[in-house]
């Protein structure tokens, strides 16, 4: 046993240091170099810029939309909402009173905003990250009448806009990127 122990010390310490250099330093740095070279946009957070070059968000990360004239994003438990430094879900369980109270309030707000009928689940539930960039097409379309009314646009035009932003991957659910949708909305001219 003693010999087993002492014979392990040199390989253990030397290999730990060599692997630390290879896997902890060389590998991530080489990947950073390659990533920056081959995919500079994605490697730096897939930022979206406006005409003046100002970064206004990321195509993959959600941001808060609380105003009436934009499609609203889902409720968020990340910090005070869509905090990019504090990703989090609510972690409320199925029988939580806090969850039931929160959903009750959000349902009431949706009703006040003119959405009738059964509410799409994603509209009144917090995502896992608190940074969900998407809505289901149903949740986006449910908001279309409000947007059309407030922006003075024909309803079918807003609905067509939602359809044009909807992505339908082969192995996944259809989704609408809310930042892309709201930018498209702004680009239609009438604010």
């Amino acid at each position: 046993m003693g010999k087993d122990f002492t014979s392990a010390l040199r390989p253990a310490i030397v290999l730990a240091l060599l692997f630390a250099a290879l896997l902890g330093i060389a590998y991530p740095l080489a990947m950073t170099g390659l990533g920056q070279l081959l995919f500079p946009v994605q490697a730096n957070g897939s930022l979206v810029r406006d005409a003046s070059g100002q970064a206004i968000g990321s195509t993959v990360v959600g941001q808060a939309f609380t105003g009436e004239r934009y499609f609203r994003t889902r409720p968020s438990a990340a910090g005070k909402g869509y905090d990019g430094m504090a990703s989090s879900g609510s972690n409320l369980g199925p029988t939580s009173r806090v969850l039931a109270d929160r959903v009750t309030a959000d349902v009431a707000a949706a009703r006040a905003a003119g959405i009738s009928g059964p509410l799409p689940a994603d509209l009144v539930t917090a995502s896992g990250s608190g940074l969900d960039p998407d809505l289901s097409p149903t949740a986006a379309l449910a908001q279309a009448p409000r947007i059309a009314r407030l922006r003075g646009l024909p309803l079918d035009r807003v609905q067509a806009l939602v359809a044009s932003i909807t992505v339908r991957p082969l192995l996944g659910d259809p989704r609408v990127n809310v930042l892309a949708l709201n930018r498209a909305l702004d680009a239609t001219g009438r604010r």
Binding site: M1, A8, A12, V14, L15, A16, L18, F19, A20, L23, G24, Y27, P28, M31, G35, Q36, L38, Q42, N44, G45, S46, G57, S58, V60, Q63, A64, A78, D83, G84, M85, A86, S87, S88, S90, N91, L92, G93, P94, T95, S96, V103, T104, V107, R111, P118, P120, V124, T125, S127, G128, S129, G130, L131, D132, D134, L135, L171, G172, D173, R175
Partner: protein
């Protein structure tokens, strides 16, 4: 449940089964120490490592020496990580100026990553500097995975060899596995992840002005390189608090599929490697079949429960399945499948918050871990855990027919059965003992976020996850306290190494035995009867031990949910 959802699940299983043999062949080359095409580039690195460390890769070790060397290597790595985390504030690559990681959190995290658990008592973006993520955590993601596969190789050699004194060379095994398997796959995988939108930069964060005019700061870092090995090595420790639910860790439906496949890739290949190592690939397919039956049943229950949704929310006017804690881009099928995969394997990455699953949807991940994570399982750990159950299964079959049990040409005798029971009994003993302790002590009761039976589920899930070396959580539990950090740290250590040592003793004992040729009286371990027996043994051991605790937690929660009770 939708057609689209089932299509995803079946496509996942089909791709997985298709990878079993190619992956198994590659692993078999490493098992035998044969040359691979990658030796052209990497063999000089391998030789250099051996020369510097004074290792003779051809000199094999008995099980005791293999075990001691493995333990000492892991202890050295753990101390290194603890030191790096404690010194984080004064070390470079700390762009957001984070302070040192606290004592009990560093203790917990160092054990956690050493034991391939990656339990996160911390939020990555606000706790770990880029250096800590890269150096202190990523190396464990590689080396704890390599250790798991090496241990599986040692046990395979026990079955595959006759009258042998040795089970391999630990140093050669981990070096080859890291250089010729984990690192090359991770390099390609990292680039795919970056192309899909996972950041890879040394910057700490970037600030944007949103469309509504607010400021939003987005945490960044070398995410992709860590994400790749986090999944492939079934580690599961996320760069960010929200883990694979975070759009920067898992941005698309495609990355979600790849992440799930990469969790199972090596574990599935190892079933084939085992069959090859004992001279009959059908032995491997039988194991994979038993695993997939258990996996598909669990997945179907979780998907069904989540798609059915929460009746309490339906009463409020909400339609459809349970989306609390889930991302739209994964949907209900992609989230339920991920939850089943990550807990069947000992990964513990999450793409949805398990705490917010419906009661039965959350029971499945919990139960998967309580079975000992032998359904595909962690890299290496899954198959050696499964083989412990196989030993018990042939023992039970032997009792029924009154013959000395045999498995793949080796007589299974009292010593092996005792050691297997010892390794398997650790799991319920520690999980249930510590859960009971935390359920009565004030420091334990301070942890849960949710009230009622769901609060008990949070505690039970934490200790199950720690002992099973999973690392996922019902994350409402506040675990960053001295009580939980300490107790969970001990739980993770016991769950990893108190299984490994008896398992290696079995490897040594089996290697020394002669091969017994199969005869007419041997119980066949390849057909449907054997697969059924395996599934039965695993379910009975898991089910009987944990059923009472599940009744107090998720099952009570489910009945409350159906009755519309809130807490």
């Amino acid at each position: 449940m939708t057609m689209q959802g089932w299509f995803l699940i079946l496509a996942f299983v089909a791709i997985l089964v298709a990878t079993a043999k190619p992956m198994g062949l590659w692993l078999f080359a490493l098992y035998e120490g044969r040359r691979t095409p990658l030796h052209l580039i990497l063999a000089p690195v391998e030789r250099g490592f051996y020369a510097a460390a004074g290792i003779d890769p051809a000199k094999e070790q008995g099980w005791r020496r293999y075990a001691v060397h493995m333990l000492i290597f892991n202890a050295v790595l753990m101390i290194l990580t603890y030191a790096l985390l404690r010194l984080q504030a004064v070390l470079p690559l700390n762009p957001t100026g984070l302070p040192a990681v606290g004592e009990h959190l560093a203790f917990n995290t160092a054990i956690s990553f050493t034991a391939n658990t990656n339990w996160q008592s911390y939020a990555g973006e606000s706790t770990m500097s880029n250096l800590s993520q890269m150096l202190a955590l990523t190396i464990h993601n590689f080396l704890s995975a390599a250790t798991g596969i090496a241990l599986a190789f040692a046990l395979f050699r026990g079955f595959g060899r006759a009258q042998a004194k040795t089970v391999g060379n630990f140093w050669a095994d981990i070096t080859r596995i890291t250089l010729y398997l984990l690192l090359p796959i991770c390099i390609v995988y990292t680039l795919v992840l970056i192309a899909q939108g996972v950041p890879q930069t040394l910057a700490g964060s970037v600030s944007v002005q949103t469309l509504e005019g607010a400021r939003q700061t987005l945490a960044l870092g070398p995410v992709a390189s860590q994400e790749a090995i986090k999944m492939l090595g079934t580690n599961g420790g996320g760069f960010f608090n929200a883990n694979s639910a975070h759009p920067f860790e898992n941005p698309t439906a495609l990355t979600n599929l790849l992440q799930m496949l990469s969790i199972f890739l090596i574990g599935t290949g190892l079933t084939w490697t085992f069959g090859k190592a004992v001279g009959n690939p059908r032995q491997g397919w039988a194991i994979l079949a038993a695993m997939l039956i258990l996996f598909l049943v669990g997945t179907a229950v979780a998907y069904g429960a989540e798609a059915a949704g929460n009746p309490i929310l339906h009463q409020l006017g909400v339609a459809g399945g349970n989306m609390e804690g889930k991302e739209v881009r994964f949907g209900i099928a992609g989230s339920a499948l991920f939850a089943a995969v990550t807990t069947a394997a000992s990964c513990g990455a999450v793409n949805a918050m398990h705490d917010s699953f419906t009661a039965l949807g959350g029971l499945v991940p919990l139960f998967n871990m309580q079975l000992g994570e032998v359904v595909i399982g962690g890299v290496g750990a899954g198959i050696y855990g499964f083989l412990l159950f196989a030993i018990l299964a042939v023992f039970v079959a032997g009792l029924m027919v009154g013959r000395t049990p045999e498995y793949v040409g080796k007589k299974i005798e009292a010593r092996e059965v005792k050691l297997a029971v010892l390794a398997i009994a650790v799991l319920p003993l520690v999980i249930l003992g510590m859960t009971a302790l935390a359920s009565v002590l004030p420091a334990g009761l301070a942890g849960p976020l949710n009230k009622g039976p769901h609060g008990f589920s949070e505690i039970l899930y934490a200790f199950t996850s720690a002992v099973a070396n999973n690392g996922s959580a019902f994350a409402g539990l506040t675990a960053s306290t001295p009580f939980y950090d300490g107790l969970l740290g001990v739980a993770m250590w016991i769950g990893r190494f108190f299984v490994i040592v008896p398992m290696l003793a079995i490897a040594g004992s089996l290697a020394a035995k002669r091969q017994v040729p199969e005869s007419a009286g041997s119980f066949p371990t390849t057909g449907g009867l054997w697969v059924g027996l395996l599934v039965g043994i695993i379910l009975i051991l898991g089910g009987l031990t944990f059923l009472p605790s599940l009744a107090l937690g998720p099952i009570a929660d489910h009945l409350a949910m159906l009755g519309g009770h809130i807490f």
